[in-house]
């Protein structure tokens, strides 16, 4: 699974180039995400614009990386497609994850949060 990463100020934006996060690739997704996510990165945005399908194991993978990043900073989500949003709502993960419509909005909100924290 390919992942695109870019740095914006002190933040990291990670965009998986995968149509599916499911049982087949969930472990690979976790491993690659964490390998791209430097330990010092406190603010991380996961851009899900390419992801069309997530199953329950994929949700488990998102929870897994969320727990790891939230232990030291913040993980925001953006560009979540409508069907995937419906799954996050169904599983009540929309009450846990912070989700923004687009990357720019997520970046601005995370920068504001980090400044308030400092």
């Amino acid at each position: 699974m390919e992942m695109e990463t870019k740095k914006v100020e002190d933040l990291l934006v990670i965009t998986p180039h995968a149509k599916r996060i499911d049982t087949l690739v969930a472990e690979e997704f976790i491993t690659k995400f964490l390998s791209h996510c430097a330990p010092e990165a406190r603010g991380v945005i996961l851009n899900l614009s390419k992801v069309e399908f997530i199953d329950s194991r994929g949700i488990g993978a998102l929870i897994s990386i969320f727990k790891k990043v939230e232990g030291r900073g913040s993980l925001f989500f953006c560009n979540v497609r409508g069907p995937v949003t419906s799954l996050l709502h169904l599983t009540r993960m929309d009450k846990v994850f912070t989700i923004y419509d687009n990357e720019q909005e997520a970046i601005q909100q995370l920068i504001s949060k980090e400044k308030a924290y400092k």
Binding site: R20, D22, T23, G60, I63, S64, G82, S86, R92
Partner: protein, 147 residues
């Protein structure tokens, strides 16, 4: 007038086969009036059933047979998944999504498959007939107000 079509897919018990099968089934279901979110949920439920068969019935062992039958009509969509692995007496055990969203460490990372099927489909059942496990997932098309 009532129309009824039936399709069957047979494949080996490997998770890397699931995306091709579930995508093909979703394409078949696209002939109904369901929107993209509803089609996604149908595919998702089939994927969860197939995951359950491969992981719990066949214990992740390849080389076993899975058959998926799809019935499409004006009034319902019915998926039946057949396997000959271990029977699951707890398949229909009630599952809940109750958790404290603020207690992140306590949020479970698994155990949502059956909950998803029960929430998205109108009927979910499991039975064993002559040594064959059968998962049935039915979606009524008269009303689609369920989650």
């Amino acid at each position: 007038m009532e129309t009824n079509e039936s399709f069957t897919f047979t494949f080996e018990s490997r998770v890397d086969h699931i995306p091709a099968v579930s995508s093909a089934v979703k394409d078949l279901c696209a002939s109904t009036h369901l929107d993209q979110v509803e089609l996604y949920k149908l595919e998702l439920c089939l994927v969860e059933a197939l995951n359950n068969v491969i992981i719990h019935s066949y214990k992740n062992q390849p080389g076993n047979k899975i058959e998926v039958n799809i019935q499409l009509s004006n009034t319902f969509i019915l998926f039946k998944v057949f396997d000959t692995g271990s029977s699951r007496s707890n398949f229909l055990q009630h599952t809940s999504m109750e958790f404290d969203p603020k207690d992140i460490s306590a949020i479970p990372e698994s155990g949502r498959g059956l909950y998803i099927m029960q929430e998205c489909m109108d009927e979910v059942s499991f039975e064993v007939k002559e040594g064959i496990n059968v998962i049935s997932l039915r979606k009524n098309l008269i009303h689609t107000s369920k989650a």
